[in-house]
Point group: C2
Chain length 220, copies 2
DNA sequence: CGGTCTATTGACTGGCGTCAAGCACCGTGG
DNA sequence: CCACGGTGCTTGACGCCAGTCAATAGACCG
């Protein structure tokens, strides 16, 4: 979520696939995405990994690191990505002085949680095809709300392997399901550019309901 | 997480399976579990459902309802369950007056998020057996920290169907995997009572690492 | 005593993973 | 200019994990 930051921020640039914050470390700063995409990922002994969240510009990726002390996940760049680091100390000060800002940070964490719950349901109870369709819908709605996407098109520069890590699927299966959506005329996805040909159908297929994203303007 | 509440609370009792808060509604109170287990669940058109979180006594189940306005999930009782409802208004006042308490609520939400991330990884990248083993470990550690469990035993009165809704599996498969853990001598599970026979082995099997639960005492 | 709920088991099916090969595209160096 | 290795996408063959369907048995209850 977009948090208006008049905070002192240290900008940094990362190339596709680079690690922004490492699992298991203790941080003194939190970062927010200013351009491109970042993701949270957890890895297993086998070398497999699972991406547990995707962040778009404006998202405060790891407010978590401040509260959790030890990172339970890494933050990586999906495609080229710019971020800004803000010292925990400053966030702490700001939240103590302004209950309103504290509330906004808390809200951000809460919406994050709502998205994660939806992902859990996608992983547990939806088919691969539905899950993929759901993700495509979610990203469009989030990016549109952030003012970065329109006309049912957006850039999302990830490999199919990374997509597999998001969906909990193998590369091969991602490839097949993607082709099914393509040949059904629902989606185009080429060179990191996604175009939704039939949003309603895609939403119906995946039972996508954007309520959980809390994008409607309401007093908080 | 245990939030010390000197807040005005309206107590309520729910029977196994009863709905405490309904998906899609707007609430004016948040609830915390005082005894028994509650769960968050999302349901699909097909009638299937996914449980996205399990809450133990001391957990502030849906602080969410305050921030999110419209519930993105239901809260249901797993087994008999006692809860306390606290008006949002009171929580709001308290957090505005005490940055420290606001911080504790925020921390609670953050840890909640860490647990959800782990569940995502379990669903996406672990086998059914590992996932089940991981859940058994997690619940024990959380209950022990809450002072409700010891000696590797705890009560968890859920049906195998509910367990399936937690793990994203069918009843039949839950039954089979449970039997495998039993016959491997790792776990006993009868009549809603879980006994871990070999915690280390179970943790190794499922790659369980309790760090994400943030139970180590650290200044916040 | 029949009805409902839960646990259990077997037979069969199917979605998704694994393995492997073949392309297309790229940047590099000879 | 072309050989090359690397990376990512695509496709086919095959196998296994988990779902579905169905039936049985026990516990509880009205």
């Amino acid at each position: 979520m977009r948090i208006i930051g008049e905070l002192p921020a240290r900008p940094a640039v990362f190339a596709a696939g680079e690690e922004i914050v490492r699992e298991g470390t203790r941080q003194k700063e939190s970062c927010l995405v200013t351009s491109g995409f970042a993701a949270r990922s957890q890895s297993l002994r086998s070398g497999e990994r699972q991406i547990t969240a995707v962040h778009v510009p404006g998202d405060f990726v790891d407010l978590h690191s401040m509260m959790l002390k030890v990172m339970d996940h890494s933050v990586v760049a999906l495609g080229p990505c710019k971020v800004a680091f803000v010292p925990h100390e400053r966030i702490r000060e700001v939240t103590e002085q302004s209950p309103h800002l504290a509330r906004l940070f808390w809200l951000s964490t809460t919406i994050d949680g709502a998205i994660q719950r939806t992902w859990i349901t996608c992983l547990g109870r939806r088919s691969a095809e539905q899950h993929l369709a759901h993700l495509i819908c979610e990203l469009y709605v989030r990016l549109e709300a952030a003012g970065i996407a329109s006309d049912f098109t957006y850039g999302f520069p990830v490999t199919q392997a990374e997509l597999g890590d998001v969906l909990g699927l193998s590369v091969v299966h991602v490839n097949r399901k993607l082709q099914e959506l393509r040949s059904a005329g629902l989606v185009e996805w080429r060179d990191g550019k996604v175009t939704i040909r039939d949003f309603d159908q895609l939403a119906r297929l995946s039972e996508f309901d954007p309520t959980y994203l809390s994008l409607r303007r309401e007093a908080r």
